[in-house]
Subunit: 156 residues, 3 copies
């Protein structure tokens, strides 16, 4: 059977990387209660931060949005690896966004649209997702954005 | 059948507003695993922030508590709209509070009681909820408080 | 039946304290969807913060790691009290870490290893857990670290 998420990613010129290894004694993906909980992902490319620093000081809102997109690509890579594709994903349940930004920054939703718009583009009517976000002081390795993604699985 | 949550809200002088539209490509409420995940809500009234700024600098702890209450009213408006009432809510599962405050602010629990006390008042023995909270740098549009609410549904 | 988590805690010299009472109108533990959601816990010992302040200014990364371990011990105390032991825990699903730190602090994963390593040591192949973390401005009572733990239960 074809996997329309993979096809839509390809149409957008996105090929999913190998999933990142965890940075400690935890798992990249945990399955529980019919859902997959993906550990927080950042805008890493080939094991290095593609973007670093505070949004509003070191990075623009557009760069923050790109960082959110890259972090989401890494979350998708984890899900693809765990499920061997996306056919078993019923819907995206939740995206929690952490945005490292300056005191007076206010465009958090614009930044996190980098995650939501990608999910909408590739999951279509399964993109769903409730969204939370906040402006944090910093993230590991001075990443500007990180996202935690939860998806629901099809019942067998 | 009567809906005791609606009745208790009315007794408190609270009428739920129309639910806010999402600010991007996500949903206000997602149902998964027998639970409703409500997107983060802030103290918006008629589409505008009722309170804005940092708690401890621009706002008092009491104003922060009011902001948490207003944000929770907006979460309730989302749930009411999704379920057409509250009868199908088995219990409130979780409240995650984000509090934009100054460096030395320490009364986070007092602020988030604006959410918890309202839930206790209207859901009574279904109010439950585990609680998390943290002091963040800022929130979208310089909101002082935002809450993400998760509820469990009655099994059919 | 023996409870291997209790035994492993004892082997590490850890005896679980009485669980903390909530600081407001919420519950320490909520069961929903086959999971337990534990309210955020900090490094309290005998009702007092064992460590307080910002990591990177008032506390070292090692002290932060200890704080994460102490917070996790308190989460385990809540679970033990709710379930009367750990035999019904199928796996740890999620750990969300909040780390109060200075602007340039970057060792968040090292700090939260205080939680993950303890869970790995005592739950062994049930330790699982997806992990999220962020650097926050502050936490209630100037706690340096807090953790929210979610576990899945065995099906009856």
């Amino acid at each position: 059977m074809s996997d329309d998420v993979i096809e839509r990613l390809a149409a957008l010129g996105i090929s999913l990387p190998e999933p990142m290894q965890p940075l400690g004694s935890y798992l990249p993906v945990v399955k529980a209660g019919g859902m997959l909980f993906v550990s927080m992902q950042g805008p890493m490319v080939a094991g290095q931060p593609k973007l670093a620093g505070l949004i509003g000081r070191d990075l623009t809102a557009d760069e923050g949005q790109l960082a959110a997109k890259l972090a989401t690509i890494n979350a998708l890579a984890q899900i693809r690896h765990y499920l061997n594709g996306f056919e078993r994903v019923r819907q995206v349940v939740r995206v929690e966004g952490y945005i490292a930004c300056t005191e007076d920054f206010a465009q958090h939703p614009y930044v996190l649209d980098g995650a939501s718009d990608l999910l909408a583009a590739v999951f279509s009517d399964r993109a769903g997702h409730a969204r939370s976000l906040c402006g944090v002081r910093n993230l590991p390795g001075q990443l500007p954005v990180a996202v935690a993604v939860t998806v629901e699985l099809q019942t067998p």
